[in-house]
């Protein structure tokens, strides 16, 4: 039990929270980077290799497209269905292979990215399916290659939805990053477990909850702002502020 009245409690709390926040942001940040790098192409391929999709017949082979689609579907479904805590443990040999250890924030990035990639890929799939097929035809009629269609039509036209999807993904990565803390992955999750739970410091617990809440709120706010910024679907809102009557 930690005594809040003891000397050095508040500076200690501050120090622990600062380090924890830093670790959380690091884990989440790098995991998000990998999630986007892998999840975006994965999502595009998920849609593209479907019947009638852009990559229905890669290299002119229709069966190849079908096989790729089945395999990706399988991987994504697998990734989405295994509970995180089990995935994390099951990935330990792999994590050790990649990072060299399975303890600490860097090691935690591996299971975080692995769980977030299929999640984000589904979000990408949904966003891209929303793009009007007429736009793809318009690009095709201009002689666009498949990659040009992805880069100039599919991704830019679904950008707002992608941003909102990414924000949801990041929120769940933050969520999972706290769980990583329980197995010595560092970050705010570990602070909550070590101090809040094992040493009964309610103040630590509350501080962690508030910090995570603030991070998620800021993230959502940023995502909403960006999504609106990139959406040109509606006419810009006219100013609704009435001119005050002259007195």
């Amino acid at each position: 039990m930690i005594d809040p009245a003891a000397p050095g409690f508040w500076p200690g709390l501050f120090q622990v929270l600062l380090v924890g926040t830093g670790e959380t942001l690091y884990m989440v940040g790098v995991a998000v980077l990998f999630t986007v790098l892998v999840g975006l192409p994965l999502g595009v391929l998920l849609v593209g290799t479907e019947r009638g999709g852009l990559f229905e017949a890669p290299f002119g082979y229709r069966p190849l497209g079908r096989v790729i689609n089945r395999v990706l579907e399988f991987i994504v479904n697998l990734g989405r269905s295994v509970p995180f805590i089990i995935l994390m443990v099951a990935l330990i040999p792999f994590t050790r292979l990649v990072v060299g250890t399975f303890i600490g924030s860097t090691a935690a990035i591996v299971p975080l990215a692995v769980v977030a990639i299929p999640f984000f890929a589904r979000m990408v799939e949904i966003a891209i399916k929303e793009v009007d097929s007429g736009l793809i035809e318009a690009a095709e009629s201009l002689g666009a290659t498949r990659w040009q269609i992805v880069a100039k039509v599919l991704v830019p036209e679904s950008l707002s939805t992608l941003i909102l999807g990414l924000s949801t993904t990041v929120t769940s990565i933050i969520n999972f990053s706290a769980m990583v803390g329980t197995v010595a992955g560092g970050g705010l999750g570990q602070v909550a477990i070590q101090y809040g739970y094992q040493r009964y410091s309610t103040i630590h617990m509350v501080a962690v909850i508030i910090l995570i809440f603030i991070i998620v709120m800021m993230l959502q706010g940023l995502a909403t702002w960006l999504a609106r910024r990139f959406s040109h679907r509606t006419r810009p809102a006219r100013s609704r502020v009435a001119v005050p009557p002259a007195i």
Partner: protein, 337 residues
């Protein structure tokens, strides 16, 4: 310029199969505006999409500017498509790009560099009358303005052919006229061949040099408007100049005269009345200016049986007019002048 030969297109298979195009052959000459008309579901969109192979025909060949598209590899086809601009009914503009950005899309695809792209896109936007809207997003444009952007995008890459699928059917009559005038201007100024799909006869009247009529996936008639005007019983001409229902006139003769070019200016009816002393009643008339010439149809009622009116009818035909004798609700006899 465009040659479609024996094209079939079937969607689905087995019992659920629909034949959208049934042995369609079509010839569009260089520099003309060719209109395809037909009712909803006739296969018009399928036909136009087959021409740039957005839809691959089940069989048959499509040749554009001497190149048989149906034989090209995917890469060759992409290059060939750059010669064919397409305008869509629902505009299909990228919502995330400005008018200028949309026009630049085609140029980016072809690999035109930044400065040249800006110059060219502004030039084309100016041509379609949208220079002042270059920075506007599609959501900030009216339907007519969006379609102008669509046309500008299709033209940016200097195509030889413009395909237009119901480009005006989402627009009001006045905007339709201004868009059609634009198409005509482009056709004349840039020497562009235009194939347009429409279900509005007014569109054909206003801009087309030639037309084809599509029904249930088959071409019923095709040819230049002038030649169709002298084709007896032409469905296209009847729809271009609708005279309405024919009421029965027992004992009398109802004839329909189609005139075009020089014959339009002569006082045919007055002459008929004078020469034969006939009480001619005009039951209906439709006159339009097509390709700068007056053309139209008139429905007349002559007293007496067709046999009794043989002489005046022969006289009219002798003047180079297309005369069809109409019975109770149908053309019963037609013959070439």
């Amino acid at each position: 310029m465009i040659s479609v030969k024996h094209v079939f297109k079937t969607f689905g298979s087995g019992a659920a199969a629909t034949t959208a195009l049934d042995d369609v052959s079509l010839e569009v000459a260089r520099g003309e505006i060719f209109g395809v008309i037909g009712q909803s579901g006739a296969g018009k969109s399928t036909l136009i999409r087959v021409i740039n192979l957005l839809e691959r025909p089940s069989s048959g060949t499509v040749t554009v500017d001497g190149e048989e598209l149906t034989r090209l590899s995917p890469d060759q086809l992409r290059l060939a498509r750059r010669k064919i601009g397409m305008v869509f009914q629902h505009f299909n503009l990228l919502a995330g790009r400005t008018a200028q950005g949309n026009v630049e899309l085609g140029l980016e695809i072809v690999g035109v560099s930044g400065a040249e792209r800006r110059r060219r896109s502004l030039e084309i936007l100016d041509l379609v009358g949208l220079a002042d809207k270059a920075g506007a997003y599609p959501a900030e444009l009216s339907g007519g303005q969006k379609q102008r952007v669509g046309i500008a995008r299709a033209l940016a890459g200097n195509p030889k052919i413009l395909l237009s699928d119901e480009a005006t059917s989402a627009l009001d009559p006045e905007t339709t006229r201004s868009i059609l005038d634009l198409v005509k201007t482009i056709n004349v100024q840039l020497g562009l061949t235009v194939l347009l799909i429409t279900h509005e006869m007014d569109v054909v009247k206003r801009v087309c040099d030639s037309a084809a009529m599509l029904e249930n996936g088959r071409i019923l008639e095709q040819g230049s408007i002038v030649s169709l005007l002298s084709t007896p019983g032409s469905r296209l001409v009847h729809e271009l100049f609708p005279l309405g229902e024919i009421a029965p006139h027992p004992g009398n003769t109802v004839i329909e005269i189609t005139f075009s070019g020089g014959s339009a200016d002569r006082p045919v009816i007055a002459q008929l009345a004078r020469t034969y002393g006939l009480d001619v009643s005009i039951l209906g008339a439709a006159v339009e200016t097509i390709g700068g010439n007056q053309a139209g149809r008139t429905r007349l009622e002559l007293p007496g049986t067709p046999l009794a009116n043989a002489a005046p009818i022969a006289d009219l035909r002798g003047q180079g007019l297309l005369v069809e004798i109409v019975g109770d609700g149908a053309v019963v006899e037609g013959s070439r002048a």
